[in-house]
Structures are given as structure tokens and as C-alpha cells.
Assembly symmetry: C2
Homo-oligomer: 234 residues x 2
């Protein structure tokens, strides 16, 4: 039966009807079970999808007490977690020690929006299968290949020949000045601390210039601006 989510678990959950439909559309083979609340009136989309893929559809209000604090969640998908090999010929995002689940989900949404589908996370980093990340990605997670690495060097060994663009406040080249070479990796540091200075020697460090009225841009904002600048309308 359903239990409170922990990082070590093999399964995670989509909390919400739209999100669960996105899961059923994109990765039906990963879905173990779909739970619905007695207050969910309309099963007309969910039920045929579950039937087609032989997925149990179970009414259980208890599952919602355990898994969801949100009042407007009436459908939950339980699915098997997996990890992927990155495509060395494609563009990547690299997040070094990201710490916030909601931020990670927002970055996934922007990646899917701008067609960058490979994500490397350098540990320690927030759990990409945290239901909060899944939810804030609004299903974009299911369009992304991702892999965790112990160090940046370990990532470099498998990522293929490419250009690196670390985003740092100490960089001297601005994002608007950059002349992108593809394939490439956009590299971002932790929300509070940014990238270590050692990344000044990696590829072409870039800065998104801003006024001194703020200390820095919010991480998902910085990542999304970079994705837009490099990949929108390519």
C-alpha cells in the first residue's frame, strides 16, 4: 500500500489529476497504480487510459491523507523511478548541488519548454523524484533524461565533446555577448552559494548582468533566461 514518500523508495507519486494524466500519456509502462478520491467525479479520461495499459485504478481516500497535504488533489499516480543515460550529442543542463525541490521542477519545465532534454545533477542535490519536484515540473519531468554524478569531473568523462558555459557572478563575458557553440552544457551552482571559483577555468563562464539592487537572480529564473537565449527559435 501507499506510504509517505522517502528518497530511498523505488516508487514516487504524481499528486493531481492533470499531472497523473501526463504520466499516463508519456510513461504508462512505469505506472504501478492510480488512486482516486471519493470526491473525484470525472473518471472519463483516467479510466480508459488505465484499462488500456492494465493499470489498477483504486479508490482510496486514505492514500490522500498519507501523500497529499493539498486540498485540491483527487488523483494520484504511483510509478517506478528510473535513471537514464544522457545523450552525449545533445545540449545539457548541469546543476551542481541544487537544494530546492520546487526550483528543480521549475527548471525542468523550462528545459522541456526550450527543447533541452538532458539534465546532469552533481551530488549532493535535491531528489528529482520528490513529489514536490514532480508537481512543480507540471509533468515536464517525464520528458527529461537525467543522471546523478558524484562530481563534475565524473560528468565530464561521459558527456562527450562539447562547450561548457558555467554561470557565475565573477564571469566577465555577459550572456548577451556569448557566441554559443553546440552541443554545449549550461552549468549552474547552488541557490545560496553559486558555483565554486574553480569553474572560472571551465569553458566560457558567463554572467547575466543585473543591477546592484539585488544580490542575484533566482536560480530557475537565471537558468530559464539562459535556456531562452541559447535555444529559443534556434
Amino acid at each position: 500500500m501507499v506510504k509517505r514518500y522517502r528518497k530511498e523508495d523505488d516508487h514516487s507519486y504524481t499528486l493531481g489529476t492533470t499531472l497523473t494524466i501526463e504520466l499516463l500519456k508519456t510513461q504508462p509502462d512505469k505506472v504501478v497504480c492510480v488512486y482516486y478520491h471519493s470526491q473525484l467525479r470525472d473518471l472519463s479520461v483516467i479510466e480508459p487510459m488505465c484499462k488500456e495499459h492494465h493499470i489498477p485504478l483504486v479508490q482510496s481516500d486514505k492514500a490522500f491523507n498519507i501523500l497529499s497535504q493539498k486540498e485540491n488533489c483527487f488523483c494520484i499516480g504511483e510509478f517506478v523511478k528510473s535513471e537514464f543515460a544522457l545523450d552525449p550529442t545533445r545540449n545539457h543542463v548541469v546543476l551542481v548541488n541544487p537544494s530546492n525541490a520546487g526550483n528543480l521542477g521549475t527548471i525542468l519545465r523550462s528545459m522541456a519548454g526550450f527543447g533541452v532534454e538532458d539534465l546532469a545533477i552533481v551530488s549532493p542535490g535535491v531528489d528529482i523524484y520528490d513529489p514536490k519536484t514532480v508537481r512543480s515540473s507540471m509533468g515536464a519531468l517525464f520528458h527529461i533524461r537525467f543522471h546523478y554524478f558524484d562530481t563534475f569531473d565524473e560528468y565530464v568523462k561521459v558527456c562527450g565533446k562539447r562547450e561548457f558555459y558555467p554561470f557565475m557572478l565573477k564571469a566577465t563575458t555577459t550572456l548577451k555577448q556569448a557566441q554559443p557553440t553546440f552541443p554545449c552544457s549550461l552549468v549552474f551552482g547552488n541557490e545560496a552559494t553559486g558555483l565554486p571559483d574553480s569553474f572560472l577555468d571551465v569553458g566560457t563562464p558567463l554572467i547575466i548582468r543585473h543591477t546592484d539592487h539585488i544580490d542575484s537572480l533566482n536560480l530557475p529564473i537565471a537558468a530559464s533566461i539562459a535556456l531562452f537565449q541559447f535555444f529559443s527559435e534556434r
Copy 2:
């Protein structure tokens, strides 16, 4: 004494030490009182600022029980709310019916970061003085002039001669194709519903092109990308 914040109140609060310091730096004349928790060890920055501006500095753990659910909040500033006249010669952001406090704070942070300091909000819209907005703006709120309007037309009457750029999924000109005219207003709709179709007849509607793997970009992401494209390194 301190009470739980409500939209009708004349006062609002900065929840956190860094945020309260930013308030004291930028708008000391608005500060009514500063509260600190018995666990706050270091008063070396706060105390002289309060003394200089004759602001009472009060130890009160009770204030924190009432105002803050966050564990790591040890300092609270109480300040008087105000509204501003927008500068008709400057660039503006216009938010039509924004509904999320955290999103609004993130947009304020990006506005301050890209030097756009005038914000119009068309009602109904989230309360800009909600402590959640103040907090997620990370103090950027104190660098912004803002004003609430009952309708977009009411805003147009006072905003001065300018170009309008409404952001809409139905627009045909992309943000990267736009040839900006200044001063201008970037106009964004509600998180869930976007702008009404009537805005297709206002100024030059723009779209931030994205793949069909997502329904839309997150609102603060879209607003920040537009601010970057129009105003960064001008």
C-alpha cells in the same frame, strides 16, 4: 502589539534578518518597530540602524509565534504600507490579476534586477504586502513603485504615451523578433488563464515561443525572460 497579517491592515512585516536589514537600509522612515527572538545572537547590524532612526527594538518570542511559521526567522520588521504614483516616463510591468504571492515576489526581484522600477497591478490581484511576497522578493519590493488599478483602461489613462507589449500564447510575433520602443509596458495575465483575447488589439502582442511539451512557461519565468530581453545591457 503584533497580530496575524491581514490584507486590510495598514502595516506589514519583513520576516527574516536579511530582509529586515534591507528594509532598514532602504525605507527606515516606514519602520514602526523591529522584533527579535531570544535566539538571535547577533544584534550588531540591527541595533545601530534602529538607534539611528529612533526605531524601537523589542525582544518578543511571541511575535514569532504569531507571524512566522519558518523555523529560521529570528528578526521581524513592522512597517507602514504605502502606494506610489507610477513614473509615466519610465518602463513599466503590468500584471493583470496575478494570483500567487510567491510568484509576485519573484517578479519584483527580476524587475529590480533589470532596472524596471514601476509596477501596475490590475485588480483583483494578490496583495503585494503579503509577507510571503515581501519575503520572496528578497527586499526588491523596497526598490519598486507600484499602484493598483481597477481596470487596464484606468491604468492607460495615467501611464503616459508609450508602447504596450502584451504577452499571449495567441500572439504571432515572437519576443526575439520584437523591435522594442521605449518607454513601454510589458503586460502579463493571470497564472492559470493568461490575458483575455481583447489584448490581441493592444499594442504589439508577443509570444515566447516554446515546445509543445509544456502548456506554458511559469509566469515569473516568462516575465523575467521578457525583462532580460528588453532591458538587460541596454
